[in-house]
């Protein structure tokens, strides 16, 4: 089988980069003095990056005219979820070592952790309903369920911003990209409504 002819095969490999990088760093002792923090943060930023890339597919299609880009959106979204799950696992396992009372206290104490958990809960149904079968079964509701990616992405940026001690520059960059991606959607929708409106008025008169 000619896997290498399929762009999805290459995209899959590219999406494994964050994990390959962490493995190489772990192997070569490059994770710094606090490897657990390094791993948790790295997985978290990649999960957020994955969400933003997934959200960039629609604007990229529209701006480039390559409608076929839609084919890669599911894989990108699933990889974002994959890194989100690893990020959560590294918190639960490496950072807290499954100390549930401490985790509960942490979630209550640190709203940003609750935000992170909420993002995970919102992304879970998206991942579970990503198959063709689920799309067919859900019909129009599929779109409604997958609308959850918007609050999830906003929650993820807030989750990041809230954890920072003082220097907000990194979360602001992610927030800026997200604002742009959401802003484009609002702008296009607004334009479409303005275009549709006169026709609607005319049909009524």
């Amino acid at each position: 089988m000619a896997f290498h002819r399929n762009p999805k095969f290459w995209l899959f490999l590219i999406c494994l980069y964050p994990i390959a990088r962490l493995s190489v760093l772990a192997w070569t002792g490059g994770l710094g003095a606090n490897p657990i923090e390094f791993i948790t943060r790295s997985l978290g930023t990649w999960a957020l990056t994955g969400l933003l890339i997934t959200l960039a597919v629609t604007p990229a299609r529209r701006l480039s005219g390559h409608g076929a880009l839609l084919r890669y959106r599911r894989m990108l979204g699933l990889f974002a979820f994959f890194y989100g799950v690893l990020h959560l696992l590294s918190y639960l396992w490496l950072d807290q070592f499954f100390d549930w009372p401490a985790i509960l206290k942490d979630v209550l104490k640190r709203p940003f952790i609750a935000f992170g958990m909420a993002v995970f809960v919102m992304l879970l149904p998206l991942a579970l309903t990503s198959t063709h079968a689920a799309m067919r079964r859900l019909g129009r509701n599929w779109q409604r369920v997958h609308w959850l990616i918007y609050p999830a992405a906003i929650g993820a940026v807030l989750h990041y911003a809230w954890l920072v001690k003082k220097d907000l520059s990194q979360p602001l960059i992610y927030g800026g990209v997200l604002a742009l991606l959401l802003g484009l959607r609002v702008f296009w929708r607004h334009k479409k409504q303005r275009r549709d409106k006169p026709a609607f008025v005319m049909s009524n008169s």
Partner: protein
Amino acid sequence: MFIKPATDIPSSEITSETVYRERRRFLTGAAALAALAVTPAQAALPPYKKNAHGGGETANSWEEITGYNNFYEFGTDKADPAKLAHGLKPRPWTLAIEGACRKPKSWDIDELTRAFPLEERIYRLRCVEGWSMVIPWLGFPLAGLLKQVEPTGNAKYVEFVTLHDPQQMPGQRRAILDWPYREGLRLDEAMHPLTLLAAGLYGRELPNQNGAPIRLVVPWKYGFKSAKSIVKIRLVEQQPVSSWMKATPREYGFYSNVNPEVDHPRWSQAKERRIGEFLKRPTLMFNGYGEQVAQLYGGMDLRKNF
């Protein structure tokens, strides 16, 4: 030179000579390399007395201590100071002690470390972010220096001011904090025998990223209280406003004593991760120095005075 024996430290707390030497042998190579990389013409520190306040704990490695730093003058990432602190020029350096005292004085850094005998103190350092290290500092008690300038009755607090020079400290080009970095102690805290002015670590001069050429070390308080690269020590009547208090008064108070029962508004302080360890360990009241310092805070509500 008169060196006061450390009477408050049980001998069991002192790192054994063999352990110390083994550690030293391992470190010499790395330390020599690092020293070469910083400034080839570094003046050697005067001889020092070996001593320990570490609770018998193993010190973190040179790489850990010099590669993982919060020193926002060189960037907010903990790897930034090691990368960007090479531009700091720790010699010549003047430390001025002024304010409410009879004999204010400006010290050249090398005269200072010759005048006040250095001793090694192995202290725990607990960062407000929830991690900790054990560090073999080289320094002298701040009390000696303060006594020498003869504080007046108006001296109630001590303020510490870090160098302000965006040329040498690129992190100061962004207004992350209100530069220069300021910290403060109550006079009795500053006079406490555990409070150290450190000029070295692991038997060598302080690397730039650790606050060269002279920094404060207050082991029972969160790390940010221990101001680095100090140019000015002022005796004052009013409680100083530290840079972190000014930045987020709700999150950082004047005292900032290590306290597992008083959480940071955004995270728990009950546990900490010792750098190099996998499982978190419980944080100790006053970072384990309660026996020596708790009486400083008798009758105070530490929840209010956080």
